[in-house]
């Protein structure tokens, strides 16, 4: 069929602004809003449609680590110290402190923008998890009260409206492809970015004084399904780590890129769609779990003590101040472990009969309505495909129980070599301004190392946006290398005009198989090097053969080229760590020693003039959290509000 959109392949548009934001998800929208509030002219480039783009486009139900909300009994310092310790230090102290410290300010922002964050309609009046004065609804630990239950389906449209109200120039269907770098006077600094329109093929050169990277994290590295591409991974299929690939090419520093975890979600065969199965995690906490005969499975505290009442599922154990639960917490250490049911293997040994189910009929009515109706409903990907769909099929949470397909919140078992960047993976290294190692280039949200969750994306987005705006005020528009931009245009458009006949799916399949083979659960110098050799061959011999017929497929093709770059980055990072590590889920067969003291540090990695350079930073390079925060922000806190 004829292409229905304008054909602007070969045309170039040039724009300039003070602050350029790449990626219009949660972090990108807030970065744009914060910069615009400071008076900067802002351009936002979003590959999809800002109104509903990103992981939280269709919704989200938990706002975590809002340690300064009025109900919280945990300080930002305590909470950040706990999440750092839970990961043996392999976590992002700077960004999680910003999240804990400013997340609540962003909740109040959202309310001003027209998002819904409290139970204003009194649907849950009198519920155990509701604060009657503020009408906030809480989740998980009832004493800590750092996590709020929220109406996330309202968030992205509200953020988009606010961006437009503030005059942010949001360009949808525009995929950023590379960072512009200026080298004037021997100083390298960011000068904006290039992009391509995913409908028209028009090439864009966007010059900027400062740039904020908010393009989330890599995917489709080990997991790729050519038929059900969109279900290959947990996050939206267009989020494959373009920002990482761009940063890698521009010489930015990364850390923790050797970390990957056994796959947790891929509904293209193994898993079920998230939140659509019976479980007792996240959205479904604290559902009652029963076995095939309807026999109830007990919740246990961290010492194995059986909890008798529903109320106890929200209480820390005796002697424990608070427990950790939520997106960045998978298997918490004893110190932070909350109420949990035994895993299914253990239950079978104890005589329970499979399959297991979540049975909400046994919960108090307000809790049942909170899980099925509020959480399932407001959580991403649930309002239409779970709540409405299951209700249409006759599901009634008071009358039916929903089958469980795996322990914890996973609904599948994977092969050991099937891995994923899930939870708290590696990403861009940054300082206390959320600036990368390249002057003028900032980052936020899931693009940062060891980052996860919406409150984190919101808080770091706002923080990076305002620091980028401050820096933009102090600079002129940097020059950029026009020849470099022209080379990038040729690279980007090549698959549309190429004589080759390789499709992007075939290449992505090849990469995924290579990564499973050479960078699976057990890593070895020899196989990692073989992986690099094979991917190098793909880069030299196969990439030039890529061909596509329209700008949409061009976007997928460019994504796959970036998947290749990120895979190379992961292989290099895996070679750099010559020991194994528990917290990094990193098993080097040739270096089996686990977490030797000498290697208890962040290894950093970047590309410089075609060479890979590695370095190291102490795990506590973030320094004193409160003192450094104070040093990098206004004393009156006005900027954060």
């Amino acid at each position: 069929m004829k292409w229905p959109y304008e054909n602007a392949v070969g045309a170039t548009e040039t724009l300039s602004c003070d602050v350029l934001v790449l990626g219009g998800g949660i972090a990108g929208c807030w970065a744009a809003i914060a910069a615009a509030r400071k008076g900067a002219s802002v351009v936002l480039l979003e590959k999809g449609a800002t109104m509903r783009s990103g992981s939280a486009g269709s919704g989200c139900d938990h706002w975590e680590s809002a340690a300064t909300n009025p109900g919280s009994t945990v300080s930002p310092e305590e909470l950040t110290a706990a999440v750092l310790d839970d990961q043996d230090g392999y976590n992002n102290g700077i960004s999680h402190y910003i999240e804990s410290r400013e997340g609540y300010d962003r909740i109040l922002d959202l309310e001003r923008f027209g998002g819904k964050v409290r139970d204003t309609a009194d649907e849950f009046a009198g519920a155990r998890f509701r604060d009657e004065a503020t009408k906030f609804l809480y989740a998980y630990d009832d004493r800590a009260r750092t996590t709020l239950r929220v109406w996330g389906t309202t968030f992205k449209p509200a953020l988009y409206r606010e961006c437009r109200r503030l005059g942010v120039k949001a360009l949808d269907r525009t995929a950023a492809t590379s960072l512009l770098v200026s080298e004037a006077g021997g100083v390298r600094r960011g000068a904006g970015a290039t992009a391509v329109n995913a409908r028209t093929g028009k090439f864009l050169v966007c010059r900027a004084k400062t740039t904020v990277l908010c393009m989330s994290r890599p995917a489709r590295i080990w997991l790729f399904h050519p038929d059900l591409v969109g279900l290959s991974e947990f996050r939206p299929p267009q989020c494959v780590g373009n920002g990482h690939a761009m940063g890698w090419r521009a010489g930015l520093d990364f850390t923790m890129m050797e970390k990957s975890v056994p796959a947790e979600f891929s509904a293209a065969g193994r898993s079920f769609p998230p939140y659509s199965t019976g479980n007792n995690h996240n959205t479904w906490f604290p559902a009652t779990i029963v076995d095939a005969d309807g026999r109830e499975v007990p919740y246990l505290d961290r010492d194995g003590r059986e909890l008798r009442t529903y109320e106890e599922r929200f209480q820390p154990a005796p002697g424990q101040k608070f427990f950790l639960m939520g997106g960045g917490v998978d298997a918490p250490k004893y110190a932070y472990r909350g109420p949990e049911v035994p895993d299914f293997g253990e239950l079978l040994e104890r005589g329970y009969r499979p399959p297991f189910y979540a049975d909400l009929s046994r919960l108090p009515e307000l809790e049942r309505r909170a899980i099925w109706g509020l959480m399932v409903g407001q959580e991403g990907k649930t309002q239409v495909p779970v709540l409405a769909e299951f209700t249409g099929r006759g599901f009634d949470p008071a009358k039916h129980r929903l089958q469980s397909y795996g322990s914890g919140w996973k609904s599948a078992s994977f092969l050991p070599q099937e891995r994923q960047l899930f939870g708290l993976p590696g990403g861009l290294l940054h300082d206390w301004d959320l600036r990368t190692c390249l002057e003028g280039v900032y980052a936020a949200g899931d693009q940062l190392f060891a980052s996860n969750c919406m409150g984190h994306a919101a808080a770091t987005g706002h923080y990076a946006g305002r620091h980028a705006a401050d820096a933009a005020r102090a600079t002129d528009l940097p020059a950029y290398d026009e020849a470099e931009a022209a080379r990038e245009q040729a690279r980007v458009l090549a698959p549309l005009g190429s004589d080759g006949d390789l499709g992007w799916k075939e290449l992505n399949m090849g990469i995924a198989k290579a990564m499973q083979l050479y960078c699976g659960d057990r890593k070895h110098e020899e196989t990692l090097r073989q992986g690099l050799a094979l991917l190098g061959e793909y880069e030299r011999e196969q990439v030039p053969q890529l061909h596509c017929d329209n700008p949409h497929d061009l976007m997928r093709t460019l994504e796959t080229i970036d998947v290749l770059a990120v895979s190379q980055l992961i292989l290099h990072a895996s070679l750099a760590r010559r020991s194994s590590s528990r917290a990094l889920c990193f098993d080097r067969v040739d270096y089996p020693e686990v977490d030797p003291e000498a290697d208890r540090k962040f290894f950093t990695i970047r590309r410089e003039g075609g060479e890979v350079r590695t370095g190291a930073l102490p795990l506590d390079f973030h320094g004193d959290l409160a003192a450094n925060y104070a040093r990098h922000n206004r004393a009156d806190g006005e900027d954060a509000r």
Binding site: V9, L15, D227, G294, R393, G497
Partner: protein, 107 residues
């Protein structure tokens, strides 16, 4: 902000853009043409861009890349005409539920 468009570089060789529906084992999206007025709001809301506008004005968008669907439901959320568009999981992804009183051992 300032901007300008330079069309001088337009390359005649790449002008023949085209697309075909990419076959997929699943059918995520179904339209009810009696209810849909072809306003394309679903299409504009989709971050994955799985649709193309129907060349016939007033008709539902075409699902050109069904395999790329993320099953998020945003298209349905933004549709102003209830029932005009429906999303459903592939068969293998439809979770099972049973009445609470039942026992699998008596099935």
């Amino acid at each position: 902000m300032s901007g300008d468009v330079n069309r001088n570089g337009t390359d005649g060789a790449t002008n023949g853009l085209r697309a075909e529906v990419v076959p997929c084992s699943a059918r995520p999206i179904r339209f009810d043409p009696a209810k849909c007025n072809g306003c394309n709001r679903c299409l504009e809301a989709c971050q994955v861009d799985v649709f193309l506008p129907n060349p016939e004005k007033g008709s539902p968008p075409l699902v050109v890349w069904p395999g790329e669907c993320w099953y998020c439901g945003s298209c349905v959320q933004e549709c102003p005409r209830p029932g005009a568009i429906a999303l459903s999981h592939p068969l293998m992804n439809r979770t099972r539920f049973v009445p609470v009183g039942s026992s699998d051992s008596q099935d």
